[in-house]
């Protein structure tokens, strides 16, 4: 299970404190939504909510992640996971969110796989748009999102060997396999050679 940073958790808690049931909350969320599709430098309405959480040592990419998550949250703030619902490992990354969607619509697996595949194979410069699209789809189906996990994953998007992408894929594909996988044919193919090869 992924370890969350304290800053990420507190930042998201700060966002979730902006309640749409209050006038101030609604106004704040509206300002945050204006940041969608804009770079941090262009998202003037978002500065007051994000800048206090930034460090001088943060890279441009990390700054962009904070602005992106803030705006995305504002577009889908009623997105909390149920307390009883999570993956087998307790991981609530976006792959797990897609897996929830697949459980809600089993017949849409192929279409979902395309959406998921597009997102998980995104380069940095594509992530913002692909994420906005995914979140809008989640909103229409009430699929949960863990924003603190998402923020942490986005910050590490370009790590060597892509562990973030692999964790998302693991959660999404975990239960999609039938229990009878390729074992029968695999056994036949492998038995024709030497199993347990050390070469």
């Amino acid at each position: 299970m992924q370890l969350l940073s304290d800053r990420d958790i507190k930042f998201v808690a700060h966002l979730t404190a902006l309640q749409p049931s209050t006038a101030n909350g609604r106004a704040a969320l509206a300002r945050l939504r204006r940041g969608l599709g804009k770079t941090p430098g262009e998202a003037h309405d978002v500065h007051r909510f994000v800048v206090p959480w930034l460090n001088d040592s943060d890279s441009d990419w990390v700054v962009a992640c904070f602005y992106l998550v803030a705006s995305l949250y504002a577009s889908y703030c009623d997105s909390a996971w149920n307390k009883n619902e999570s993956s087998a490992d307790g991981d609530r990354n976006l792959g797990a969110s897609f897996a929830v969607w697949r459980r809600l619509e089993p017949r849409a697996t192929e279409r979902l796989a395309r959406h998921f595949g597009l997102l998980v194979s995104s380069e940095r410069n594509e992530l913002s748009e692909n994420l906005r699209h995914a979140i809008s789809l989640f909103r229409s189906r009430e699929v949960p999102v863990d924003w603190a996990v998402l923020l942490g994953d986005l910050r590490r998007w370009d790590q060597d060997h892509h562990p973030v992408q692999f964790r998302w894929a693991r959660e999404f594909w975990r239960d999609s396999m039938s229990q009878s996988d390729a074992t029968d044919n695999a056994a036949a193919f492998i038995a024709a050679e030497r199993p347990n090869e050390e070469e």
Binding site: S121, R170, A182, F189, R194, N196, E198
Partner: protein, 531 residues
């Protein structure tokens, strides 16, 4: 006239207790055996051949005919220097590598063409030998020292493979070409040689059929028989002249660039080497268990240790060590409950006179394994779990390969899935093999296995009904280790270079497949150990 006497010239590589390697002659090697940690060459074939030579000299001088005589030698802690020095002085001329009349292990007049000396070094690039480490050229062979030539000749005499024309018949396998040799290892060379010095009499280690003397004491030459010749006894076998060889020295000090080689005695296939493990063929005969390039020997060590098995025959050496352990437990001799063993050998390309690879493995050897079938069964169970986990990894690798080659496989119905797999079978297996999961798993497991092998005898429980059970705790720990190593091997094999959708999906589903198969592989150990 060139001369290099193996009694006192330096040629045997001896590793001392401080880790230095020092070359010694035969006399010093034996007299200082307790000060030498081991005899060890970079080639396991040379190492085995050197031990056999030393054992032949010791058997010749000290027997021992019985366990009682052996015990006397063991407790003395050193070989009788006066006896050895007298023997080596008596036969000194026959130990000269370049003696004009009777060069050591050689024949002074051979009707054979000159061959480069590299031919005798089975790892060299010469003739059919694949270039393992060397780039010598047959037309201009690099001269080697006399010491190196002696070692090469000794190992060649034991390991030369069949293949190639010669007279009176084509080249046949030498005594150690097939299978592998097992040697017990003590804390120093004296212990090592003593542990391997099985009782030597008319019946053991092999039957004496005539005058049993080592090669350098023999006068005249037997007529080679293509059907095979039975050794006169163990000394004859340990110094078996499978070839007629002549080294051609040059210069001072002498080096060797050329040699002559001809087929000589083929050992009878009925001879069962007491230092080898045999497997039973379908027709009932016993054959040396071959090396497998894809499977290290430790993975079948339960077979080596097993007293009685309808498919295998363990080395007679292990029967002997079991007797020693029995005496130790009875308080009759002062020995340790555990030593080590070396497994040395090579694999050849049949009929092509080509060595494909060689192997030298070492294992701890708690002697209890040699007489406790319950313990061996527990070991067998542990190795079986390791095999099943290895299979789980292979299945996961297959799953990854399948989804890489057929990305939509999981969305197909069962009929189309089977068709897709069959159609793309070659491509799938190519991808699977490229992952080399076994290469990550088995070598990583070897070190952990040694710990399991050592700990298992200590984990003994007597259950109700007085049934002895081994490994109640240790095997659970071993199962956990197997899981950990399997997962780590999987991660290394799946190291993602890109984050394409295809690769991510294949990896995620392969991991899920590994989880399922690990649960099956570990059985009740999965529940006990948890994950």
């Amino acid at each position: 006239m060139a001369s290099f006497n193996l009694v006192d010239q330096r040629w045997i590589p001896c590793v001392m207790h401080d880790g230095r390697t020092e070359e010694m002659g035969i006399q010093d090697t034996l007299l200082k055996a307790a000060e030498i940690r081991e005899v060890l060459d970079s080639s396991p074939l040379v190492t085995a051949a050197l031990h056999r030579l030393l054992l032949a000299i010791l058997h010749r001088n000290f027997g021992p005919e019985s366990l009682t005589e052996w015990r006397g030698l063991w407790e003395h802690g050193r070989w009788d220097g006066a006896v050895l020095m007298q023997y080596l002085a008596d036969w000194r001329p026959r130990f000269d590598l370049f003696d004009e009349d009777r060069p050591f292990y050689q024949v002074a007049d051979i009707a054979a063409d000159l061959s480069p000396i590299a031919r005798l070094e089975l790892q060299s690039a010469s003739g059919n030998n694949p270039t393992l480490f060397d780039h010598s050229l047959d037309a201009a062979p690099t001269p080697v020292t006399a010491a190196r030539a002696a070692r090469a000749m000794l190992s060649f005499m034991s390991y030369a493979p069949s293949g190639g024309n010669s007279a009176p018949f084509n080249f046949c396998d030498s005594p150690l070409t097939r299978g592998f040799t097992v040697l017990a290892l003590g804390d120093h060379l004296f212990e090592t040689l003593a542990l391997n010095l099985m009782p030597y009499n008319l019946e053991r280690p092999i039957s004496v059929l005539g005058q049993d003397i080592p090669l350098w004491e023999q006068d005249g030459y037997r007529v080679p028989d293509p059907a095979g010749t039975m050794p006169s006894g163990y000394l004859d076998y340990l110094t078996w002249p499978s070839r007629k060889i002549l080294l051609v020295p040059q210069g001072d000090p002498p080096t060797v660039q050329w040699c002559r080689v001809r087929q000589h005695l083929k050992v009878s296939s009925e001879l069962l080497d007491p230092l080898k493990c045999f497997e039973r063929s379908e027709k009932g005969g016993l054959f040396p268990r071959p090396l497998d390039s894809g499977r290290a020997l430790w993975r079948d060590c339960h077979v080596l240790f097993q007293q009685v098995d309808k498919s295998w025959k363990r080395p007679d050496l292990f029967n002997w060590l079991a007797r020693i352990d029995g005496l130790r437990r009875a308080g009759v001799i002062n020995a340790k409950p555990q030593y080590a063993c070396s497994l040395l050998g090579c694999a050849v390309d049949s009929g092509q006179a080509k060595v494909l690879f060689w192997r030298h493995e070492r294992l701890p050897l708690p002697l209890q394994y040699l007489s406790d079938s319950d313990l061996v069964n527990a070991l067998r169970e542990g190795l079986a779990i390791a095999d099943r986990v290895g299979n789980a990894l292979t299945m996961a690798a297959y799953q990854f390969a399948l989804l890489t080659v057929v990305p939509q496989w999981d969305l197909m119905n069962a009929v189309n899935q089977k068709k897709a797999e069959s159609k793309s079978g070659d491509a799938i297996n190519k991808v699977r093999k490229s992952l080399q999961v076994g290469l990550h798993y088995w070598p990583a497991l070897e070190r952990e296995f040694r710990r399991f092998l050592l700990d298992l005898p200590q984990d003994r429980t007597i259950e109700e009904g007085r049934e002895v059970v081994y490994g109640y705790h240790v095997t659970v720990q071993w199962a956990k280790t197997l899981q950990k190593v399997a997962r780590r091997s999987f991660e290394r094999a799946m190291c993602l270079e890109s984050h394409s959708q295809r690769e991510l999906k294949a990896t995620a589903q392969a991991e899920a497949c590994l989880r399922r198969h690990l649960i099956q592989a570990l059985g009740h150990y999965a529940q006990k150990g948890g994950d």
